[in-house]
Structures are given as structure tokens and as C-alpha cells.
């Protein structure tokens, strides 16, 4: 299709993919900075389980170079 039209305008992203992009970035931020202490102001009591995620992903976060302690 691109070839038959020759030089056309480069594509833009559909809305759904921008939403997926935002969700993925949010998930990444939670994974990499996940700790109850950091998320408590946002989530209150619900931040508790993130302590487990934080500790389980602990070695990975250190070795990926993200601040942890």
C-alpha cells in the first residue's frame, strides 16, 4: 500500500495505541519504583501489596540501575 501511493505522509498512531502506551509506562513506573512507601500517598491502604512486589523484584531493580534504598 505504501509503495503504490509513493511518498505519502508518515503514519500517526491510533488512539488505542496511545492509551496502551500510557498504561505500559505506568506499569513500568510502578514496577521500577514499586514500594508501599512511595505509593502510599497515592493509594493509601491499597499500597500495601506493592511492598511485596517491591521486595520480590528487588534484585532486578538494583541490577537494572533504578534507585531502591
Amino acid at each position: 500500500m505504501e509503495k503504490t501511493l509513493g511518498r505519502r505522509h508518515p503514519s500517526t498512531l491510533p488512539l488505542w495505541s496511545l492509551l496502551v502506551l500510557a498504561l505500559l509506562l505506568l506499569a513500568l513506573l510502578v514496577l521500577l519504583s514499586a514500594s508501599g512507601a512511595l505509593l502510599a500517598p497515592l493509594l493509601g491502604q491499597a499500597a500495601g501489596p506493592f511492598d511485596y512486589l517491591h521486595e520480590f523484584a528487588h534484585d532486578g531493580r538494583h541490577l537494572l540501575g533504578v534507585p531502591c534504598h
Binding site: 495505541s17 512507601a37 523484584a57 528487588h58 534484585d59 532486578g60 540501575g65 531502591c68
Partner: protein, 240 residues
């Protein structure tokens, strides 16, 4: 077509994440164990320092968690990479999907890890005051975002200069110098990295290098695998 890139990105990212996990397991973990042993012996001598932090998971469990972390990191970063690639594909100059994929991965590696690493290198446990973790995390992710933005602007500037007929070597020099200045200003403006005084520097730098290697394996793996998946789909005649 974006969904195909998203899928390939997540698949390539998962594989690259597990490869990075393997590197981290064999190269990084032995050093991390050493730094934790150092931390614990320091706690014993500290006044009133009993058990230190309460451990929710044992060390072996945390090593399983390493693969969970790098795998999940890989899937999410890979998904982001796929969507970003779908946007930039027709805008990148390189001649093939493999070359485009590798140059995009290289650019994001530089912005998301390499530049921030120069200012805030990876640290093993016990470095940094736990009460400042919120500020340090914010500073780190601010630098990641601004470095990525600086790389994007450098790329746009290079394209503009090219369109104006500026030669390749002058273009590289101008954009490179501009990027160095911008990164230098960012480094001056952001808060200093936590002090690692008193930590044996051999172990410290071994840890930092293993962290660097983990990220390098990930981004090299992602760029290569994603490019190969795209090339394979093209050869099969699947429209991307």
C-alpha cells in the same frame, strides 16, 4: 499494523528481558550477594543496629524475583518499543527493519539508561539514605525523561540540518556538541548522587558494571530480536 509491532515488541522484550536476567543472575548476583554481606556486617557494628531491614523474601526467592523483574520489565519496555517503532518506522533513515530496530534501541538505551547512569550510576543496597528515596527516585526518572527528550531533539535537529543540506560530519559535530551541552546543564541542575563513601570501590564498580551489562544485554537483545521478527514477517509477505 500497530498491533503487530506491539506484539513483536512484547515478544522480543520478554526474551531480551530473560536474557538480561540470565546475565544479571550469573554476573550481577554474586556481586550483589557480596554487597549484602557487607551491609549486614556493617549493621552488626552499627550502634543499636539489630537485624536491619525486615526481610519479606529470602535471598533465593529474590533471585527468582530477578527473572520476574527483568521479564516484566522486558514485556512492558518491549511493548512501548513496538508502539514507538510503529510511529518512527517511516521516519527513520536506515534501510532495513533490522537496522532501524537496532538504531532505535540504541537511541533509547542512551536516553533511558546510559545518560542517567553517568549522573546516577546503579547502587547496591545500603548506599543512599532511605529517607531520601522519594526524592532520589523522582530525580532519576526526571533525568530519564529529559535525556530521552534531549536525544529526540538531537535527532530532529540532525534531520533539519540534513534537509538544509548541511554535510554529515558538520551535522554530527553540531548535534553532538549541542547534546553534550544540554546533558551537562541537566547534570548541573539535578541534585547530586548519593555518596558512596566508605563502600569498597572495587565491589561498588563491579556492581555498577554488572548493572550496565544487564541493561546492555537487554537493549542489544531487544533491538536484534525485534528487527529479526520484523524481517521474518516481511519475508513471509505479512503486511506489517
Amino acid at each position: 499494523m500497530v498491533s503487530a509491532y506491539l506484539r513483536r515488541g512484547m515478544a522480543a522484550g520478554l526474551l531480551a528481558g530473560l536474557l538480561a536476567g540470565l546475565f544479571a543472575f550469573f554476573v550481577g548476583e554474586p556481586i550483589l550477594d557480596r554487597t549484602i554481606a557487607l551491609e549486614e556486617s556493617a549493621h552488626v557494628h552499627a550502634p543499636g543496629g539489630g537485624g536491619g531491614d525486615e526481610e519479606i523474601f529470602s535471598r533465593p526467592t529474590q533471585k527468582v524475583g530477578l527473572f520476574f523483574a527483568t521479564g516484566l520489565f522486558g514485556v512492558t519496555v518491549g511493548g512501548v518499543f513496538g508502539i514507538v517503532y510503529a510511529y518512527f518506522r517511516e521516519r527513520l533513515a536506515a534501510g532495513s527493519d533490522l537496522k532501524r530496530s537496532i538504531s532505535l534501541a540504541g537511541a533509547i538505551f542512551a536516553g533511558a539508561f546510559l545518560v542517567p547512569f553517568l549522573k546516577y550510576p546503579a547502587n547496591p543496597p545500603s548506599i543512599g539514605d532511605p529517607s531520601t528515596i522519594r526524592e532520589r527516585t523522582a530525580a532519576y526518572f526526571t533525568l530519564v525523561a529529559l535525556s530521552l527528550l534531549a536525544i529526540l531533539i538531537a535527532w530532529l535537529a540532525a534531520r533539519t540540518l540534513e534537509a538544509r543540506g548541511v554535510g554529515a560530519s558538520r551535522r554530527r559535530l553540531t548535534v553532538g556538541a549541542g547534546l553534550v551541552v544540554v546533558v551537562g546543564v541537566l547534570f548541573l541542575l539535578l541534585p547530586a548522587a548519593p555518596s558512596a563513601d566508605g563502600f569498597p570501590s572495587g565491589t561498588l564498580w563491579a556492581f555498577r558494571l554488572s548493572s550496565f551489562g544487564t541493561q546492555l544485554v537487554f537493549w542489544a537483545g531487544l533491538g536484534l530480536l525485534f528487527g529479526v521478527l520484523c524481517e521474518r514477517a516481511r519475508k513471509k509477505g505479512v503486511t506489517a
